[in-house]
């Protein structure tokens, strides 16, 4: 066994065509099957060359599985395959502006709140948190519903890629916001301010 080419993409590792829509169960089944063949434990007493190749190929396999099994990381990888990536700027995605403003205001209030007004504020923020999470779930559904459309339009990808990109950007922003709100609720004051994305 020789190592896969260093630039083999995740789909090549699995030997499947490039598609956004994947059957997760089938992907897992194939992952286990390939693991049984490639894993270093299966080549414990083979030659050093074979053992090294087994390790490298299994590493590529686990990496590919980790990326492809989750729709969001798969979609991000899809952007990468098409030479795109999410920007690193911290601008609020326009559809989120009003919600973000509300969250920030509430968190600010909570930081300065007296012990007495805390419980009421906390439950308000918990409500907003529920709203944020619902919004994220909605984005996930929209994204997965569009997978088929994007798969079929590989020939003219530009506008659809932009579509995918904006969903992912909004989602990334939301996830950071949700994490920070949760951290604030848990009393972790050392956490970054809510609008700071990483």
């Amino acid at each position: 066994m020789l190592p896969l080419p260093a630039d083999a993409d995740h789909y090549t590792v699995f030997g499947i065509p490039r598609q956004l829509r994947l059957d997760q169960q089938e992907l897992s089944r194939r992952y286990y099957e390939l693991s049984r063949l490639l894993h270093p434990d299966r080549h414990g007493t083979a030659s050093a060359v074979a053992r090294d190749a087994s390790m490298r190929n299994t590493a590529a396999l686990t990496r590919a599985h980790r990326t492809l099994r989750d729709p969001v990381s798969r979609a991000l990888y899809w952007l990468e395959l098409h030479g795109e990536k999410l920007g690193s700027d911290n601008r609020v995605p326009p559809p989120l502006a009003a919600l973000v403003f509300e969250v920030q205001e509430k968190l600010e209030e909570l930081r300065e709140a007296s012990a007495k007004s805390r419980p009421a504020l906390t439950s308000e923020i918990e409500n907003v948190l529920g709203e944020l999470e619902a919004r994220r779930d909605e984005l996930d559904q929209r994204m997965e519903a569009n997978f088929l459309k994007w798969d079929e339009a590989i020939a003219q990808p530009t506008p659809l890629l932009a579509d995918l990109k904006s969903i992912l950007a909004e989602r990334a922003y939301l996830s950071t916001l949700i994490r920070d709100v949760k951290a604030t609720l848990a009393g972790d004051t050392a956490v970054a301010r809510p609008h700071a994305t990483r």
């Binding site: 020789l2 286990y32 099957e33 434990d41 060359v49």
Partner: protein, 596 residues
């Protein structure tokens, strides 16, 4: 085929096991009949070294010549040693990046002392089974970091063993129970040993044991219970090593007695003091409650990482002597809402599992496969001392990640970076693993060189770093300066200065290692030779003949060179056999099955 052995190198006791015809077997000591080798070494002024029970008996009498619980110091530097440990061990004055003990004018590192236990176990198994013990798997706490794993591997090497694999202890324990035979499901393994705590969550699926999350504390265990109890009979500030050691030994005895009894006496006679105190189990539980509670946060974190609720766990397995403590059992039962498995001896279950994994590696068990994870995230330092994660914790191993580096000044000829391990945002709060330097770049304008660095975590959970110049495609050499642990040269020189009188000669040991490697590849190649083309066969047979001739000499360097040569000659054949077996397995599947 040579047998592979499984070793549990424990904080308190060490054991050796193998996969027999009727399942995994531990090897008992011929004299005592016990499979447990106390992980204690005692150094006599005469130069003699006691290992095991004899050393343990000498601990109270000669505390500063006797080393117990050395596993607590594996892979650590002096800066990591906790204040409460300082008084109890004869640390060398000038030890920095690697903990060293100074006894009778000699210095010993934790891997050297661990090697004493490994060698003792090797001899024990060789005597019992009448065959040479060469290749082993050694278990480590799942939460061991990179340097602790490297230190364990060094210990194996110092004992003259080929360490085929490091296996995580809780994962090994799940193998021992053979839980795959019952059904597929989710398992939690709660492992509280003498000095370490681990929790692992696994999914069993058709013989595949897949770890989905692991967490723990490498400095938490039954020893901490002993300390909590000993503190009750010591005055604040009392730090006489004899007295402290005696109090710890007495506390351990009392702890054990309180497992089955409602009350037990603690009798302390040392350094001119004589104290006696009777404790009830309720009192004991009150003292150790903080220790037990410290185990619960990692359990919750592991469940959260796995995306599971405690009640979804199908089976709970207890590992480690400290799980005999009734309070621990109650806490675990309460957390998971089910009665944990305790059928196997918690002191033996890890070794038994290591025996099973040894059988998997030697090809005796083909139905099982273990997919383990990296316990801690790996990352590099970026602007502002922020840790940029490259590999997330709980990623299945082996795994690899790539990172591009370039220069930021014109004509810069070297690029450096530092790798950290841990979960915190800032590198200063994480553990520094190593500093890497890529040298010998062509002088070019800033930003033009494209260097791809691959971070590969192997199946042992150990990091390997390689670099490639993307323009030329050439592998790039890389200098590694580990922050902790021993360099290869240091291990070599330890082998040279080895206090093993049986095989004092390094050359002899290197020769044995080289011959073992030669044996291995000759055997593997012979097996595959009938699938070679005529052209390949000529090349391979010539390389085999040269290697066989060299193996009759004592030139270990030449043997190694010819092993490499044979590897090269058989590369295309090895690849074809592998491709063929993969193809065969996949042929029955249509590609479009995967795509809905």
């Amino acid at each position: 085929m040579d047998r592979v052995f499984g070793i549990d190198l424990g904080t308190t006791n060490s054991l050796i096991a193998y996969l027999g015809d009727d399942g995994p077997q531990v090897v008992a000591d011929a004299a005592s009949g016990s499979p447990l080798l106390p992980s204690v070494a005692s150094f006599l002024p005469s130069g003699e070294i006691l290992v095991g029970s004899a050393a343990k008996l000498r601990a109270a009498e000669a505390p500063l010549e006797t080393i117990a619980s050395v596993k607590r110091f594996m892979g650590l530097g002096m800066g990591d040693v906790k204040p409460e440990d300082r008084g109890c061990y004869p640390f060398a004055a000038d030890s920095g990046p690697v903990v060293r003990f100074a006894i009778h004018g000699r210095e010993y590192t934790p891997p050297e002392i661990s090697a004493l236990f490994l060698r003792e176990l090797k001899l024990r198994a060789e005597k019992a089974l009448g065959e040479e013990v060469k290749r082993v798997v050694i278990t480590v706490p799942a939460y061991f970091n990179d340097s602790q794993r490297q230190a364990t591997r060094d210990a194996g090497r110092l004992a003259g063993l080929e360490v085929l694999r490091l296996v995580n202890e809780p994962t090994a324990a799940s193998l021992a129970y053979g839980l795959d035979k019952h059904h597929d499901g989710l398992i939690a393994v709660y492992d509280l040993g003498g000095g370490t705590f681990d929790i692992s969550i696994l999914r069993i699926h058709d013989g595949i044991f897949e770890v989905i999350a692991t967490n723990g504390d490498t400095r938490l265990g039954g020893d901490d219970m002993d300390r909590a109890l000993a503190a009750q009979v010591l005055q604040p500030g009392e730090d006489d090593p004899h007295l402290v050691r005696a109090a710890l030994i007495a506390a351990e005895r009392t702890k054990v007695a309180l497992t089955d009894n409602e009350y037990a006496a603690l009798e302390l006679i040392a350094a001119g003091a004589k104290r006696e105190h009777t404790f009830t189990r309720a009192e004991f539980e009150q003292f150790i409650r903080p220790v037990v509670e410290r185990t619960l946060a990692p359990c919750r974190q592991a469940l959260a990482d796995a995306g599971l609720e405690a009640k979804q766990i199908d089976e709970v397995v207890l590992v480690g002597g400290a799980t005999r403590v009734p309070l621990v059992r109650r806490a675990v039962q309460e957390l998971f809402g089910r009665t944990p498995h305790t059928e196997l001896d918690p002191d033996q279950v890890v070794a038994l599992g290591a025996g099973v994994q040894a059988g998997v590696l030697s090809g005796r068990r083909k139905d099982m496969l273990l997919l383990d994870v990296v316990p801690l995230s790996l990352g590099i330092e970026t602007v502002g001392g922020v840790m940029e994660r490259i590999i997330d914790r709980n990623t299945t191993i082996p795994t690899a990640a790539r990172q591009l580096f370039t220069t930021f000044m014109d004509n810069q000829t070297a690029v450096d970076f530092t790798v950290y391990q841990g979960e915190r945002e800032l590198v200063q709060d994480n553990r520094k693993l190593a500093y890497f330097i890529l040298r010998g770049l062509e002088p070019q304008p800033a930003g033009l060189p494209r260097l791809e660095v691959t971070f590969l975590v192997d199946a042992n959970g150990i990091l390997n770093v390689t670099a490639r110049d993307l323009r030329s495609g050439h592998e790039h050499s890389i200098d590694v300066k580990p922050s902790y642990g021993l360099t290869d040269e240091q291990v070599e020189s330890m082998l040279e200065a080895s206090f093993d009188h049986a095989v004092a000669d390094v050359a002899a040991r290197l020769l044995i290692e080289a011959r073992n490697e030669g044996d291995g590849i000759l055997r593997a190649t012979r097996k595959a030779l009938d699938q070679a083309t005529d052209e390949e066969r000529g090349l391979i047979e010539a390389a085999m003949a040269r290697l066989e001739t060299a193996m009759r000499t004592t030139d270990h360097n030449r043997i190694r060179d010819l092993v490499d040569e044979l590897n090269q000659a058989s590369m295309s054949l090895a690849q074809r056999i592998m491709d063929h077996s993969i193809k065969e397995a996949l042929e029955h599947r249509r590609v479009d099955e995967v795509v809905s």
